[in-house]
């Protein structure tokens, strides 16, 4: 009997190995062409500027005291930002995962709105709140590290709430019930049962938040005061301002090495902690708060996070409706008019349309490419999977200017000359979105009990059928959340788009920046109106993405 099973497994294994290879090749080829090759070109050019490959710029990051202090600041602010984000996001994560309160889905969609806002717009809103006679002026945080941390938390709360929350809501609550019945305190039950089970999702969210804050650019420039710089800021300055490709290459390499080490550690952690468990449907795990104490706690969590995330957004909305201290719809009317606008070249509504089209295209690419990668990574833990996982995350930790300038010199001739092609926009967005898809899917895929798959195989199902019947239903929910993220990434992306976007391919964030680049209340008002529109569009798109899923997704 055992022998028979082993033989059957062997044949199936061979076929599934082939499947896995196919799953791996697509993402590797995609990222190889559109990420690794351009980045290697620009770094190689920087290091080879003196005729031979010269690694000394990398060592300068350690030797030069100024660069060293930049590297140190980059690291510790990212670490503190990540911790703060978790502290702030935790109550809402719990509510979204476990409390059956009305409007839970809406909460999950709205929490992502800050994530897509252009940094300069958020900076203006934060400054309005933090300036000496503003509502938060008493804090004395107009510029410096505190507003940087505040903004980082503001942008990244969504990453924790959605990545951890989605996983959490599928955990079987009876494990905790059992612990409680056996006499564990609420805290003990959480620490000994829930927390270890959540570890893979926490590691996934933490690594994304860390990477985002580690490579923070606009927030640091705008809120830190002019003397603060992260490695990312310095790479931009060296590349786009000073054209010192040697130093830029050294910094870019140092940044990548740091990120690879960090990611390798978290990938390992994620893998070790992943345990198979019985996942339940989202509706089984949630419970209505009982008693007034629980209601108060839940409402306090929602209200607290709501005020924190909402206040800067409200500032923008209010400004979009006011001119000279009075209520007006003039800014929206100006956006809607198809009149001549020499700066934007196309009417603003076309930017909205472009943004939506790109978001759909980028999401489709990211879900396909990232989905294949996630399946391959989850199928077989091990060194190879970890390496692929790290490689896929790497774009999040690479400076947009490195990739952008790399593109210019690497893909510059023949059929590969895509430098001015409109295709580049969704491709660039997809590269940033793929890690989200992978991070959302892998923990869920790994927690599927392999005995279910084995049983299906024994009963004669092909690998594809096994996947369709066992994995797919479980994973669809995660795909919905990942697709929402991918769309949001695309809607809010600025750093790469501004280098690629042509006048006729203008997106909302790029249009906002262009309007802000001109003096006058009318331009400012229109920028605020467009920001408000971006919030609405994002919430709506994410809501739709997550809403569209076959009913069977809730059957497992």
């Amino acid at each position: 009997m055992d022998q028979h099973r082993a033989a059957l497994n062997g044949a199936a294994l061979n076929r599934s190995r082939l499947w896995r290879l196919v799953c791996l090749l697509v993402p590797l080829a995609f990222l190889g062409l559109f990420f690794a090759y351009p980045v290697a070109s620009i770094i190689g050019r920087g290091l080879g500027e003196r005729g031979h490959l010269d690694p000394s710029p990398v060592l300068d990051v350690v030797r030069d005291s100024r660069l060293r202090s930049i590297a140190w600041f980059t690291t510790w602010q990212a670490f503190v930002s990540t911790v703060c984000t978790f502290v702030v996001a935790w109550p809402l994560t719990y509510v979204v995962a476990r409390s059956a309160i009305p409007g839970r889905r809406w909460l999950r969609a709205f929490v992502i709105v800050p994530f897509v806002m252009p940094t300069v717009v958020v900076a203006i809103a934060f400054l309005a709140l933090l300036q000496p006679d503003g509502p938060l002026g008493f804090l004395g945080w107009e510029r410096g590290v505190a507003p940087i941390l505040l903004a980082h938390v503001f942008f990244n709360v969504a990453v924790v709430v959605r990545t951890v929350g989605t996983f959490w809501e599928h955990l079987d609550p009876r494990t905790v019930d059992a612990a409680r019945v056996l006499g564990a305190s609420r805290l003990r039950a959480f620490v000994t049962t829930t927390l270890p089970l959540l570890a893979p999702a926490i590691a996934a969210a933490a690594s994304i938040v860390f990477l985002f804050t580690f490579t923070s650019f606009g927030v640091v420039l705008l809120l830190g005061g002019a003397q603060r710089a992260t490695l990312e800021v310095e790479i931009y300055r060296q590349t786009a301002r000073l054209l010192d490709l040697r130093t830029a290459a050294g910094l870019a390499l140092a940044q990548m090495v740091a990120i690879v080490v960090l990611l390798a550690v978290t990938a390992r952690l994620q893998e070790r902690r992943a345990t198979t468990q019985r996942l339940v449907t989202a509706t089984d795990g949630v419970r209505r708060p009982r008693g007034s104490a629980q209601w108060v706690a839940v409402l306090a969590a929602v209200a607290g996070t709501g005020v924190f995330l909402g206040a800067p957004l409200v500032v923008l909305v209010v400004r979009s409706f006011s001119a000279g201290g009075h209520f007006t719809l003039a800014h929206y009317r100006a956006l809607a008019s198809t009149g001549d606008n020499g700066l934007l070249f196309v009417p603003a509504w076309q930017a909205v349309r472009n943004s939506l089209v790109y978001a759909l295209e980028a999401t489709a690419i990211a879900v396909v490419v990232g989905g294949l990668a996630a399946v391959a990574i989850a199928a077989r833990p091990g060194r190879a999977s970890r390496a692929v996982d790290v490689f896929i995350m790497l774009p999040l930790g690479t400076s947009a200017v490195t990739v952008g300038f790399g593109f210019l010199i690497a893909l510059d001739r023949g059929p590969l000359d895509l430098r001015t092609s409109v295709l580049l926009v969704p491709i660039a967005h997809a590269i940033v979105a793929i890690p989200f898809v992978v991070r959302a899917m892998v923990p869920v895929l790994r927690s599927i009990d392999p005995r279910l798959r084995e049983a299906a195989r024994v009963l004669g199902a092909s690998p594809a059928r096994v996947w369709r019947e066992i994995d797919l239903p479980v994973v669809l929910r995660a795909v919905g959340v990942a697709a929402g993220f991918a769309a949001a990434v695309s809607l809010g992306e600025f750093g790469a788009t501004v280098f690629i976007a042509r006048p006729d391919t203008l997106t909302i964030p790029v249009a906002i920046y262009r309007l802000l680049g001109r003096p006058g209340g009318a331009n400012f008002g229109q920028a605020m109106a467009l920001s408000t529109l971006l919030m609405a569009v994002t919430a709506l798109v994410v809501l739709l993405m997550e809403g569209v899923r076959p009913s069977r997704a809730t059957e497992f």
Binding site: V26, L243, R419, P519
Partner: protein, 351 residues
């Protein structure tokens, strides 16, 4: 391994096919030559003016916005073997040295260049052609000063280090912003070597706020936009813009200009070496100093036309005065010292 190569090639072909179908569909739409114009983000032209040129010349213009002026120039330098565009607009006199050193432009003496004031023709070999100019000056909020015990509006950069003006000024970082760099150059021209460092040290003691870019300073921190600082580094053309874009409409600007210690910025266009359509590129350069384009410049980009006798719109003649004696530093001089000046400034003001 073989599989990877095959797949990579297959993908490349698919992508390239999609890419070329995009380009071919646009070129099929019109049989004309398409000339690509690379610009910085603030480039603007009104549609009818550009359309009239396209109709008359049979040349289609594709605009490629490539980030701020610094990023744009560096992209052009990095891609000079396979240029992204035929024509590049937006190099100013602070970056001209780097552009010429890297030899990215083909000399071309534009038709109509004799109608342009000699003062703006900064390259005798005509590798670049001047298009517009403007003054980077201190701006102030006219409604803020001179009442409730506040000092009168400033009349020179020197006023800003006076204790009465403590904490009132916001400037941009010259390392990242061109108005920021312009104002630094103005102080270097005004106070001379040794003097400008002292001036900035005093300005720092007097609580100057340094922002990264113009948008943040003007839209965020300037009192006219709801901020807390009534003095900001911006352009001499801010008052006309303040009227045109006022909301609700205002007939007079709230913004005033300090006409001393200004820096004059000149922006250029040039035909890129290796342009695919050099002849069409030259026509486009001619067009940019022709009367229709030059007339369009003030209300689209809020700068002044270089072509003599170009009529200005009323809002410019009324509110858009220029500095009588702007600071002048030769582009070669700026090119030679720029990095060192910025470094010294950074050490003086930020560290």
């Amino acid at each position: 391994m073989k599989r990877i190569t095959v797949l990579a090639i297959a993908m490349a072909v698919v992508v390239a096919a999609c890419g070329s179908s995009h380009t071919s569909s646009t070129s099929k739409a019109s049989k004309d030559t398409t000339v690509v114009l690379m610009t910085h983000d603030s480039f603007a032209v009104s549609k009818p003016v550009l359309a009239a040129f396209e109709r008359a010349s049979g040349i289609k213009v594709k605009v490629l916005k490539a980030g701020d002026a610094g990023a744009e120039l560096n992209q052009a330098i990095l891609t000079k073997d396979h240029p992204l565009a035929d024509v590049m607009f937006g190099v100013d006199n602070t970056f001209l040295g780097r552009a010429l050193d890297n030899n990215i432009f083909e000399p071309y003496r534009a038709g109509g260049i004799d109608r342009v004031s000699r003062a703006f023709v900064l390259d005798s070999q005509h590798r670049v052609t001047p298009v517009d100019y403007g003054d980077i000056c201190l701006n102030y909020d006219k409604t803020w000063f001179g009442h409730d015990g506040r000092p009168p509006a400033p009349t020179s950069a020197g006023d800003l280090v006076n204790p009465a003006y403590k904490g009132l000024t916001v400037v941009e970082n010259p390392a990242s912003s061109s108005p920021g760099l312009g104002f630094l150059l103005a102080t270097i021209a005004t106070y001379g070597d040794g003097g400008w460092q002292t001036y900035w040290a005093n300005l720092r003691k007097n609580g100057v706020l340094v922002d990264d870019g113009w948008d943040q300073a003007y839209d965020g921190d300037f009192t006219v936009s709801g901020g807390k600082r009534p003095i900001v580094v911006s352009y001499a053309s801010s008052p006309p813009a303040d009227v045109v874009f006022s909301s609700p409409h205002r007939g007079v600007p709230r913004v005033g200009v300090v006409y001393t210690s200004c820096f004059r910025q000149v922006e250029f266009v040039g035909v890129l070496r290796g342009a695919k359509h050099p002849n069409a590129a030259q026509r486009l350069v001619d067009f940019m100093i022709s009367e229709p384009f030059q007339r369009d410049v003030p209300l689209e980009m809020y700068v002044y036309p270089v072509r003599r006798d170009t009529p200005l719109p009323p809002v410019f003649t009324k509110f858009g005065a220029l500095a009588p004696h702007p600071a002048v530093i030769a582009p070669s001089e700026i090119g030679k010292h720029r990095d060192e000046w910025i470094k010294t400034w950074t050490n003086t003001v930020l560290h």
